[in-house]
C-alpha cells in the first residue's frame, strides 16, 4: 500500500493540542510508515483541517477508543475514593480542629504556671497524630500515599525537646493545617459535589438546552433512555472534575504536611553517596580481578611462550626437529592466550551485546558451559506491544549480572542444570527482570567475596533491586530488576522528571 493523497502531519505542523491528555496515547503514524488505513485520529484531523479549524491532534485509533477513554473516570475507583476522602475530612476535620485547639490552648495557658512546658511534648504528639490522619486520608483520596515531612528531633534532655518542638516549622505547619482544614475541607467537598448536583439538577428540572431534546422524544417510550444517554457523558465529566479537585487538595496537603524539597534532596543525595561508594568499591574489586586474570593467566602464558621461542631459536641449527616441536608448543600457547584474552574481554564489555543484543550475548556466555543452561529472553514491549530496545546501560547491567551469576554457578554450585531468564518486570515501572536459577548446593554468602556484593552494587546503582535466595542445600535463585529509566530530579520542580531521552510523547 502506498500513500496517495494523505500526508500525515509532521511534528512542526502539530501545534494545537487537546487539553485533556489521555492516559496512554497510541503512537501516531509516522512519516516513515506507509499506512494502508488512516486512524480515526487522522480522519478527524483531516476533517478539521478541511473545515478550516486549524491543526487538531486527536490521538485515538478508533471511536471506541475515544469513548472508552472518556468514560474511564466513571468506573475508576479513584473517583469514589476522592469523594469519600472529601466527606471523611469534612466530618473528621472539626473533631481534629477541636482537639488541637483544646490541647494547644490548654498548654499555652498552663505555661504561665510552668506546668504547661511539660505538656508541650505530648501536645505536639497529639498534633502530629491528628495531622497524620488528615494526611493519610488525603493520600488515600488522591491515589498515592503522601509521605510525611521529617520533624526535627531532639536529644533526651528535658529542655531541648521542648525548644525543638516550639521552633520546628514542620510542626507548626501541622497546626496550621488542622486549624485551617475545618474550613478548607468542606470547601473542597462542595467543589467536588457541586458539579454533580448541577448535572442532576439539569436533568431533573430540564433546563432549556436539554428540554429541546426531551421535547423531541417526548412521545417516545425511550425518554428515560435518552436522558440517561445525555447524563452519562456529563457524569464522566463530573468524575473528571472530582479527580482534579482531589489532586488540588493533595497539593494543598502536601504543601503543609508533605515532604519538603530540601529533605527529599538530602535523602536522595545520601542515597546517591552510598550508591557511589558501593560502585567505586565494586569497580575497584573488578579491576583487581582483571589485573589478576591478566597477570597470573595471560602474562605467564606469554612468558612461557617466549621461552619456547627462545629455545627453538637456539635449536634451529643443531636440532631442527626439536625446534619445530617447540614452535608447535609455542603456537598452542598462543591460541590459549588468545582464548583467555577473549574471556577477559567478554567480562569487561562484550561486543556481541552491542551488535546482536542480550539474547545472543547470554547465549555466548553459556555456550561453553559443561552443564546445560537454558537462556530465555523475552522482549520488553511498550503499550502497543512493540518491542522496545533496552537502553545500553540496562542491557549491560543485565548482562553483567547474568555473567557473574553463571560464573558463580559453574565455580561453586555443583549444579546439574541452570537457567537464565530475562523478561519484562510485572511491576509498575518499565523494567527488565533477570533471573538466574540453579539446582546446586546453595549457601551463597554475600559477605564471602564471591562477587555478590558487586552485583548488588551494580544493580542498585541504576536504581534497581537485587535479591539472592540461596538456602544451604540449594537451589539458588538470583533476581535482579533493572529499571529502563532512571529517576532524575528536575532542578526546577524536584518531582521525578519524565526521562525524555527516548522521546516520550507529551
Amino acid at each position: 500500500m502506498s500513500e496517495t493523497d494523505h500526508v500525515p502531519p509532521t511534528d512542526d505542523e502539530r501545534q494545537v493540542k487537546t487539553t485533556w491528555a489521555p492516559p496512554s496515547s497510541p503512537p501516531h503514524a509516522t512519516a516513515d510508515q506507509t499506512v494502508s488505513t488512516q486512524t480515526f485520529g487522522d480522519q478527524v484531523g483531516e476533517l478539521a483541517g478541511r473545515l478550516g479549524l486549524g491543526d487538531v491532534e486527536i490521538p485515538f485509533d478508533s471511536p471506541v477508543d475515544a469513548v472508552r477513554w472518556w468514560f474511564a473516570p466513571l468506573v475508576d475507583p479513584l473517583t469514589w475514593r476522592a469523594v469519600g476522602a472529601a466527606l471523611a475530612m469534612s466530618v473528621i476535620g472539626p473533631l481534629l480542629f477541636a482537639t488541637t485547639a483544646f490541647v494547644l490552648t490548654t498548654t499555652a495557658a498552663l505555661t504561665l504556671v510552668v506546668a504547661g512546658f511539660l505538656l508541650v511534648v505530648p501536645a505536639f504528639a497529639v498534633v502530629d497524630g491528628s495531622a497524620s490522619i488528615g494526611r493519610r486520608i488525603a493520600g488515600w483520596g488522591s491515589g498515592e500515599p503522601i509521605p510525611r515531612r521529617d520533624l526535627a528531633t531532639s536529644g533526651d534532655a528535658l529542655v531541648s525537646p521542648i525548644t525543638t518542638r516550639l521552633s520546628d516549622g514542620a510542626r507548626w505547619s501541622q497546626v496550621l493545617f488542622l486549624l485551617l482544614d475545618v474550613v478548607v475541607a468542606p470547601l473542597f467537598l462542595t467543589a467536588s459535589l457541586l458539579p454533580l448536583s448541577v448535572v442532576i439538577g439539569i436533568l431533573d428540572f430540564g433546563i432549556d438546552p436539554f428540554s429541546f431534546f426531551f421535547d423531541l422524544v417526548d412521545d417516545g417510550p425511550d425518554v428515560g433512555f435518552i436522558e440517561f444517554l445525555v447524563l452519562l457523558p456529563l457524569l464522566a465529566l463530573v468524575a473528571r472534575l472530582i479527580q482534579f479537585i482531589a489532586q488540588l487538595r493533595r497539593r494543598y496537603v502536601v504543601a503543609l504536611l508533605g515532604p519538603d524539597r530540601e529533605s527529599e534532596l538530602v535523602e536522595r543525595v545520601e542515597e546517591l553517596s552510598v550508591q557511589r561508594d558501593q560502585v567505586l568499591e565494586a569497580v575497584a574489586t573488578e579491576r583487581r580481578r582483571i589485573e589478576r586474570n591478566l597477570h597470573d593467566g595471560v602474562q605467564q602464558q606469554i612468558v612461557a611462550l617466549g621461552i619456547d621461542i627462545g629455545r627453538a631459536r637456539k635449536k634451529l641449527d643443531d636440532d631442527p626437529d626439536g625446534a619445530r616441536e617447540l614452535l608447535d608448543d609455542a603456537r598452542d600457547k598462543v591460541r590459549s592466550s588468545i582464548g583467555e584474552l577473549r574471556l577477559i574481554g567478554r567480562g569487561l564489555h562484550p561486543a556481541v551485546l552491542e551488535d546482536r543484543g542480550l539474547d545472543a550475548a547470554l547465549s555466548a556466555v553459556v555456550a561453553g558451559s559443561p552443564i546445560p543452561i537454558t537462556v530465555e529472553v523475552l522482549p520488553v514491549v511498550d503499550s502497543t506491544g512493540q518491542p522496545v530496545e533496552l537502553p545500553s546501560d540496562a542491557a549491560e547491567t543485565a548482562y553483567y549480572i547474568a555473567n557473574e551469576a553463571i560464573t558463580n554457578v559453574l565455580k561453586y554450585s555443583n549444579a546439574r542444570v541452570a537457567s537464565v531468564r530475562a523478561e519484562p518486570d510485572p511491576g509498575l515501572l518499565p523494567a527488565v527482570r533477570v533471573t538466574i536459577h540453579d539446582d546446586g548446593r546453595g549457601g551463597a554468602d554475600e559477605t564471602r567475596g564471591s562477587g555478590i556484593a558487586g552485583m548488588r552494587a551494580r544493580v542498585e546503582a541504576v536504581d534497581g533491586a537485587f535479591r539472592i535466595d540461596s538456602p544451604a542445600g540449594g537451589p539458588t535463585v538470583v533476581t535482579a530488576v533493572i529499571p529502563l529509566r532512571r529517576e532524575r530530579f528536575d532542578a526546577g520542580t524536584l518531582d521525578p522528571a519524565p526521562n525524555t531521552e527516548r522521546g516520550d510523547r507529551r
Binding site: 602474562q299 612468558v303 612461557a304 621461552i307
Partner: protein, 212 residues
Amino acid sequence: MVADDSVLLRDGVVRLLGDADIDVVAAVGDGAALLDAVVEHEPDLALVDVRMPPTHTDEGIRAAIEIRQRLPGVAVLVLSQYVEERYATELLTGNTAGVGYLLKDRVVDVDEFLDAVRRVADGGSAIDAEVVAQLLGRSARSPELDRLTPRERDVLRLMAEGFSNQGIADELVVSLGAVEKHITNVFTKLDLDHEHHVHRRVLAVLTYLGSR
C-alpha cells in the same frame, strides 16, 4: 633449583636450563618447599619467583634473604613480575656475592638469561637493566652524574647491572683496558671508593644511585 608457582613457567625454565646442560635438582611451587629443597640439595643457585603462595606478595624475597643468611654458599637469583627497587636493595644489603634480581621477561632472552644465571652462580651479581634504568632515570638531575661522559654513564649502568669488566667490554665492544679506565674515572668523579669486586661494586653503585 627452580621455585615458581606457575607450572607453565616452571616447566619452561627447567627445560631451558636443561638445554644448556644445567642440572636442575628440584622444582617447587611455594616458599616453604623452596627452603626445604635448598636445605636438602644445597644447589649452586636457586632461581626464585617473588610472588608465591600463600600470600602472593613477597614470599620469594623473604625466602631469598633467609637462604642468603643460612646458606651463604647458595646463590639466589630472584625473578620478579615488575620492577620493585625495594626488593633489589633488600636483597643486596649484606652479602652481595651471588645475588641477582631480574624481571621475568628476561627469561625470554635465552642467552642473556643463561649468562646472568652463570654469573650469579659464580658469585657475581645480576641486576635487571630496568631496575638500573629506573634508578638512573630518577637520579638524572644529580650534578655529579652530569660530570660523566656518555660512555662513562654506560659503564656505570653496566656495573650496576652486575657485569664484570670483561662483560662490560663485550657489551660496549671496547677493549678491557678502556673499560678499566672508564671505571676509574667514574668512581673518581662520583667521589666513591673504588670497589674492585663486582658484587661490592654493584652495591656501591646502586646505593649511590638509590640515594640521589
